[in-house]
Amino acid sequence: MSERESGEILEEHATLDSTLQSVDKAETIAVGAAKHLGITEDDEHEIGMAVRECMVNAVVHGNRYSAHKKVHLSVRATPDHIEIVIGDEGSGFDLNSLPDPLAQENLLRQSGRGILLIRAFMDEFDLHQRPGGGTEVRLVKNFSKQ
């Protein structure tokens, strides 16, 4: 019986520094948890990409690389899906303030595509104010059948 069939649930939590190295760490943690339960390569890639984009937003835009601010990562993987929560300690963020990266006038903008990619790769995306300040993002991906 594979881990996916056994009903195993994996949870990981980490408090990470606001650095680009933390982006790599978060990807490793999240993808590692999902891989342990057996997922397709495509799912692995998409989870990794979504986590990286969220982490970059938290580190760069939320915490602005501050050595005094942390990024909070939680991962919960079941045989059917993975839920990832990433929270920063920044000043908060209004999703509606983002320009539409698919609008013709924005196609040549250098940045602003991270959330578009996250939504493309994950089945659920929720962004809200974190208790105590900052932004928290919750992602869910339902695993593909093998």
């Binding site: 990409m49 990286r52 984009e53 698919l102 196609l107 990619l117």
Partner: protein
């Protein structure tokens, strides 16, 4: 692993061979610096070969766009060749397939300039 970038000439076309990951940080900035350098040296025809690029994030995509804009503003053109399915998917998701000319074959890409 960051990105490795090499250049070669095919006629008057400068081909950039990229390998590895083009992501926020070293990878994206190395690409940006190379494009700027080529633009300043007057390279008008640039073909970016992404055949060995295993991973590109939104920052990497941003540098491709920025490179495109830089070269176009200098009166030249930047085209793409050798995209993996994953990179093609990213260009589709971001609608950048409507911006870049993308080729499967290098010879055809070079002839198109």
């Amino acid at each position: 692993m960051s990105v490795k970038l090499g250049t070669r000439q095919v006629g008057d076309v400068t081909v950039i061979d990229a390998a590895g990951r083009i992501t926020l940080g070293e990878g994206a900035s190395a690409f940006r610096d190379l494009i700027r350098d080529l633009a300043n040296k007057g390279s008008q025809k640039i073909l970016l070969n992404l055949n060995e690029v295993s991973y590109i994030d939104s920052s990497g995509i941003g540098e491709l766009v920025s490179g495109f804009t830089t070269i176009t503003n200098h009166g030249g053109s930047l085209k793409l060749v050798g995209l993996s399915k994953r990179v093609k998917d990213l260009l589709q998701i971001t609608k950048l397939y409507t911006v870049f000319e993308v080729f499967e074959d290098e010879s055809a890409a070079v002839r198109s300039f």
